[in-house]
Structure formats: structure tokens, C-alpha cells
Amino acid sequence: ETAASKSACKQCIKYTGWRGELDFGLGYLSDDSLRFGDYRGLEEEGFNLALDGDVHFRNLDGRYFDLYARNLGDDNRQLEMRGGNQGSYQFRFAWREIPKYRGFGTQTPFLGVGSDHLTLPADWVHASTTGGMSALQSSLKAAHLKTQRETLDAGVTLNFARNWTYKADFQHQEKKGTRTLGAGLFFNNATILPAPVDFTTNQFDMGLSWAGKRAQVQFGFIGSYFDNGNDSLTWQNPFSSSPLQQTFRAALEPDNEFYQFNLSGAFAITSWMRLSGQAALGELSQDEPFLPITINPSYSDLPLPRSSLDGKLDTSTFNLSGKLTARLNNRISFTARGKLDERDNKTPVDFYTQVPTDLFPVGGRFNRPYSYEREQYSAELRLRAHRILRFSGGGRQENLDRTLQAVARTEETTWWGEVKFSPLISSQLRFKLESSKRDISDYIPPDDGGPIDHPLLRKFHLADRDQERVQVELDLMPAGGLGLNFSYFEASADYDESAIGLRASDEQSYSVNLSYAIGKKITLYAFMTRDEIDADIVNATAVNAVPWNAVTRDRITTGGFGLTAHTSEKTSIGFDFVTSSSKGDISVQTSLQEDPFNPLRTDLRNAKLHFDYEVNEHWAYKLYAEYEKYSSQDWTIDGLGVDGISSVLTMGEQSPEYNAWYLRMQASYRF
């Protein structure tokens, strides 16, 4: 009867064939703003093509095709398509671009921006301070620090036999453009350089899986190959024309390769007992030919212990989890997990003579390839004590063994408990408390020939720590369609054994969220979050010096509201508004004074409006408007220009500030 009804079900076959929507029109941006264009791809005042669309095909024999296109006229274009025969095979393809701007108002006197060789103009006047570089202002050119990430994905899935699936995906990712790179010259000078970015990563991801009713298993392989089009950056020294200090060179990120075999599976032993696990074994290698020890011709004969690193590290991950659900009078579930991660660094250790700023040798050091092994065990019990009351709790142990570091082993034990109280189907109060304690083995700074830290220093990730986390959430649905959520979160950590280093940190967050659906046509929402992030840091200029301490206080308030309304059969409207303000206070206190800096500030206001009007079955118009106001203050860069620091030639980055609106109108053809 079911089959007969289907053949007579007009609705069931009505949506076969091709359908879709093609949107085309123009957009207009009111002002130049790199920050507004960050990720959006809209940074220059003027018009842009606004092209979007989606196309779909469905056939009763199971064949299908979907295509989604967004922002084809912009630098953040996305294209995604997939098709196949449902249950038999699927092919997929995606193209995505992401523009990123890395500095605002940046300038540089260097020539060859974007290449791996930066030179100064022929008439450059060298000087020991930026103020003395008399040709600087006339040599400056705008240098937009932009990177463009382009990602191509292609893949196929084959359901080639009952329960068996094979999938293969390939990803090609390119990131090209320019970023900043700091380049120091011993203790004297530094230059902020526009460094080239030419990264390519190719990744293969293949998997063969079998899925039965009680067991599933997948075997997979990942291969990832990174290639940097530039192995180094060479630049001329703007501070000195001395032949031995004329040109310097830094290494850029080396090519590397990673592959991994993985096995993943799950097995339902009974209806109330289940095991699942994953294992992965891989190798990461890097063998980029070394640069010479220095570009300084005076030391061109210094020997390298090897021509390349032959860096290799084995990675392995094993994790196993088991869930046991006991059906007693009340439902109880018990879950246990275990996990082992290992980074076994097999990179050869050699002695490398150091000419750290291309000026003169300062001895040498052995390289230190770090390894670690992390074990995690956890167990949790969940009890449905009553229809309205649930308890859960558990413990977790994490042990981390490290090589070549000040602490060989850290052990952290965590206990947590949670109560959920739901007196009504429309309300729930949740309270969760978590407490953890981390103990370290002896803190013995390694004797690696490098600078010796203060004996009382405890690096925060290698330090004893007591941490508490509290989470309270109240969900209410007092009336049909109305939802309210209040939440509070706090994570505080004390490093009482750290006389020098991070002493304490605290993060608190308060949130209110509201959603209200008026019938099926109107939805309203509002939210407000307040975040407070504090840290106390202590350090000392010498072992016998009186320590100084720093206090940082970040305060961020974010809120917004919006609505979506289908105002009639033909029209719909949406509106969103967000405001986010932050203030960062930093105060450094010495024995002589307490010295607060000017606050770091950011203010963002963003409003979006969209309005759709359906003219007829085939045509519609779409209007989108966005307004954004942004301002920021950052005393570390504001007002410096390129020569504001006498010993550092910067790129003059400034805190962004703008008002911009963007308007887009599109005609939409639907078929």
C-alpha cells in the first residue's frame, strides 16, 4: 500500500528536476577601509558585482546535484557543489577564498615588497636612529599587508557494497601575500619587514569503512605536504652601511610532510554496553636544506654540522572509551575513557655555532628536539534520580611527561559534579562545579647553555596549579515561543608555588539570551555577554632584585538584538544589531610606583538589514544593507609612525577606525 500511495503522491514527485535561484546585482561600499574588508573582501570604496546562487537537481532514480555560490564578485568567494546517486556514490567540489588584512596604515621604504629580497632605495641615508634617516619620508610607500587564502576541495564517496564505504578527499590550499616579520640586530636595532607569504599545502584524506548494526570500523590515511615558496628573507640594513652589516637574512618556514594511518571503531557489546576507540600512527618530517650560519661574509667558512635537519617526529594517539548504561529503577550510565598521545621527536641533535644577528659568533648550542607523552583517564557517572532531577559527576587524570624541559612530569587530577533540576518541561537549572589540582615533579631548569632563568620562576604550564570552574545556567520558557537563558561561568587558577611567573588568572562571563517566536512568521532575539579576564604576573630583573608585578584586566561587553519576519506572502525582512566594546587595563607595579597604561579600547557597532520582495513565481528582489562603525586605541602603536621608536624602523601600523556602510541590491531569478 505504501508503494501504491507513493506513486499517487504528487507532492513526493513535485520537486524532482532542476530548481534553483540565481542572484545578480551590484553592491556599493561607502568608504575605503582595510579593516572592514578583513575577511569580507570589501575594502575599497565603490561598486562590486554581487553574484550568488544555488542550483539543485533531484530525480526519482536517486540522482542529485547541489551547487551553492556566494560572493562570486568578491575576494571571499565560495563555491560548493556535490552530486551523485543517493546511497551509491557522491562527488564533491568546493572553492573558497578568504582575504586577511594584517595591518592598517602600514608603509615601508623597502623595495621588492612581496619578494624574498628587500632592498633600500639608492638614495637611502643610513643612520643609527630612525630620526636620522633623512630619506625615510620621501621613500615611504603604502604596503598593504594582505594574505589571500584559496582552498580547493575535491572528493568522492563510494558505497560500493552493502555496509562498505570508501571515501577519498583532496585539498589544495594556497596562502599568498605579505605579512610583517620583526628582524632584530643584536640589542641595538630592529626593523619590521614586509615578508612574503607563499604557502601551499596539499592534503590527501582517504578512508575505508564498514558499518553494521552493532559494529562500525574505519581505516584511513592522511597525507599532508606543506611547501613554502620562499625559504628565506634577505634585507638591507637601514641603520648601517658598513660592509659587514649591510645585508641580513632570516629563515622562513621550511617545507614539511606529515602522514598518518588511523583506525577507528565502535562495538555495541550489548544494548547497554559499548566500546569505541581510535588509534593513529604518523610521522612528521622536515628536511629543508639549511641556510649558511650567517650571510655575513666574514664568517662564510663556519661549518654546519649537517646540510639539513632531517627532522622527524613520530606521532601516535590511542584512545579507548567504553560506555555502560545500566537500567535499574533509575537510569544510570557510566562512561570510562583512556587516551595516550605521544610526540616522539627523533630529530638528530647537533652543535650549531651561533651568529644570531649576522654580526659575530657568540658560541654555539645544541638543538633541543622536545618530546612528550600525555596520558588521560576519565570516568563519569550519570544518574537520573527523578524525572526532574539528574546528577552527574566524574574524575579525570592527566599525566604529561616531557623531555628536555624544567619539569619532567606534571600530574593533574580533576573532579567535577553537576546537578540538573527541571521542575517543568519548560525550565532547567544547571549547576556544575569542577576542581582540579596539578602537581609537578621537581622543577629543574635544563642546562642547555642558554640564559639561566630566575630560580623561583615557574613557567605557567609547568607549574603547580589549583583551578576551579563554576558554571550556572538557567533556561526558562515562560510562555509559548519565549525562551530565556541566563548563564554564569568562572574559571580561576592559582599558581601559589610560582613566586616568579603567572601567579593567578581569573575569567568570568555573564550572559543573558532571549528568543521569542511570535507565531511562525516573526522571530526576535537579544543577547548580552560580559567577559572579565584578569591575570597577575610577577617577575624580577635579577635574582636579588625586588620583584615587580603586573596586573591585566580585560573587560568586554557584547550585546545585540534582531528579528526575522515574514511580513506577508511576498515579503520578508531581517534586522541584526551588535555592539561590542572592550577595555584592556595593564598596570605594572614596581617597588617605587604603580604605573597604569592608558586603556586599550575597541568599539564595534554593526547593523544589518535585509529585505526580500517576491514579485512573482520566478522573480524577486533582494536588498541588503550593512553599517559598521569601529574605533580602537592601542598605545603600543598609535601615533608612532614608522620612526616613532628611535631604534626600530616600524611599518607605522595604526589602530583602525572607520565608519562604513555597504548596500547591495540584487534581482533574483528562481526556477
Partner: protein, 289 residues
């Protein structure tokens, strides 16, 4: 006590009957299911395939739903994907078919333990499920993870609010075994999927970098550039205390001091020590080259 034996539930006559009331244009339309892979009747695993029960494959035998009650109301279908049906019951319906390599770690996972229903995130009737669309996915996640929404508006953040990234680029909500439901077994392996240039191994490694990117970065957003948790020099001074310039108390007076301001202003420590993720230069032990 007495047990009431309820009559066996009955199926109705399939989609044709359901569509009488739920077709396009009706108040409670449900026709969009036929625009999705679930609605392709010739796919053998479709709820609408031969031998299946069409809408009632998921909603359960609901013959009683057809009949109006005396007060004009209707009984709900046997299974509804809302608060009226326990999440576990809803999920059993979905997992009866979606029991494969994507969901094998779902039982026992954090979301499953928290009794999140599949339908809390997935809209199976929508022609494009919002949680599978990069532009709309984060709103689905933020409906519970509200705190993260505000972090995406911070001064420095990944491009979630622009729809250029989605939560599932880093997190697998069905996975039960990785910390924070990450797509890879470690934090760093997850970050390396986009930032492969930082995975090395470098000749001169910066120890915390090899261990956990989140020691220095907050991936959801920060008040400081580059998603850093603290601003240099204080970020660096938490771990470095060898005397000399790394341990100077950089007060606001220093900002006016032409000799020392290079350690504090612009990029601070990174003015010189720029290879913080590791250096492959033979002379790069101080990560300046």
C-alpha cells in the same frame, strides 16, 4: 498495579495521506523533505523507499494523528522532534539509519551524554540544513554556546562571524574521544589543518608551541592581536626571567624612554624575536632569524 495493554499502533497510508494536510502552502507544511536526500524514494535507505513507512518511518505509527479529537485538536504523531519526545527516543529513530562512520563515536560523546537531540541541531526538513551551511552553522551552535558568540566579536578572532569559517572546521560535534570534540586527536593537529607552516619540526623549537597552541592563543577570540591571551611583553614575561631586558618592568615611563621603548612598543618582544613558532635558521636559537 494494573497494566493497561495498549493496542498496537497503526501506520497510516503513507506520504500521500500526510501531504493532504502538510503540503506546500498549508500552515504546517512539511513538503520540503522531498527537496532533501531523505525524500528520494528510490534510494534504498530513504524513509520513503519501498517497504518503508514514509513520514512515519521517523514519526512512528501515527494513524491516530489523522483523527480530530472532540475539541478539534489532534493527537501528536507518535514521535515528534521537539521537547514532547525525550531526546533519547528521538535519537534512536535517527541512529536506526545513521549508524555509520560519522556517528560511531556519538554514543557516549559529550553531546549525547548531555541529552542533546539530533533535531536540536539538524533540521532534516530544510532544503539545506542550517547546521551544514557555513554561513548559518554558528548560529545553531551559539543557541547553546552563547559565550562563544561574544568571543567572535572580539578585537581578534577567527572569521566565524563572516561565515568564512564554521565551528565544524575545528570541532566534530558527533565525536566522543577527542578533547573539546576536536576534529583531530590534539589541539595542535587541529590547528595545523590550516596552519601547516607552524608544525615544523624546526631546528630550534619553542617548547610550549610544540605542546599546545592554546597556551598562548585563545582560538575563539581575544582582546589582543593574533588571538593572544596576553599582550607581549607580559605574555613572554610569564615564562622568561633570565635577567636583563626580558625581565625589565616595562612601565608607561618606558614608553617615553627612547632606549627601552623598542622592548615595549610596536610588536614588543616580537620586534626582534619574531620566529616564535620555531626557527630553522642554524643561528636561530634566540628565534630572531
Amino acid at each position: 498495579g494494573d497494566e493497561t495493554i495498549e493496542p498496537a499502533a497503526e501506520y497510516s497510508k503513507g506520504a500521500k495521506q500526510c501531504m493532504t494536510c502538510h503540503k506546500e502552502g498549508k500552515e504546517r507544511q512539511a513538503h520540503e523533505i522531498f527537496m532533501t536526500p531523505m525524500g528520494i524514494s528510490n534510494a534504498p535507505d530513504s524513509p520513503f523507499a519501498e517497504g518503508a513507512h514514509d513520514c512515519e518511518t521517523c514519526h512512528g505509527p501515527s494513524k491516530t494523528h489523522r483523527k480530530k479529537q472532540k475539541d478539534g485538536s489532534r493527537l501528536s504523531p507518535a514521535v515528534t522532534f521537539d521537547a514532547k519526545t525525550p531526546a533519547e527516543t528521538q535519537n534512536e529513530v535517527c541512529m536506526a539509519c545513521h549508524n555509520d562512520e560519522h556517528t560511531m563515536h556519538w554514543p557516549g560523546s559529550m553531546h549525547e551524554q548531555e541529552e542533546v537531540a539530533c533535531a536540536s541541531c539538524h533540521k532534516v526538513h530544510a532544503p539545506r540544513d542550517p547546521v551544514l551551511d557555513k554561513l548559518t552553522q554558528q548560529e545553531v551552535c551559539f543557541s547553546c554556546h552563547a559565550r562563544i558568540r561574544s568571543e567572535t566579536f572580539r578585537n581578534s578572532s577567527h572569521p566565524l562571524r563572516f561565515g568564512e569559517m564554521s565551528c565544524s572546521d575545528c570541532h566534530n560535534p558527533h565525536n566522543g574521544n577527542n578533547d573539546f570534540l576536536l576534529i583531530s586527536s590534539t589541539v595542535n593537529d587541529t590547528c595545523y589543518t590550516c596552519h601547516a607552516e607552524k608544525r615544523g619540526p624546526f631546528l630550534w623549537e619553542h617548547a610550549p608551541v610544540t605542546e599546545d597552541c592554546t597556551l598562548c592563543h585563545n582560538p575563539h577570540g581575544s582582546n589582543h592581536a593574533a588571538l593572544l591571551k596576553q599582550r607581549p611583553p607580559l605574555l613572554c614575561q610569564q615564562c622568561h626571567s633570565p635577567g636583563g631586558h626580558p625581565t625589565t618592568a616595562f612601565t608607561s615611563e618606558v614608553a617615553e624612554n627612547s632606549f627601552q621603548q623598542r622592548f615595549l612598543l610596536a610588536r614588543s618582544c616580537v620586534n626582534c624575536h619574531s620566529q616564535v613558532h620555531g626557527s630553522n635558521h642554524p643561528s636561530g636559537v634566540t628565534i630572531t632569524r
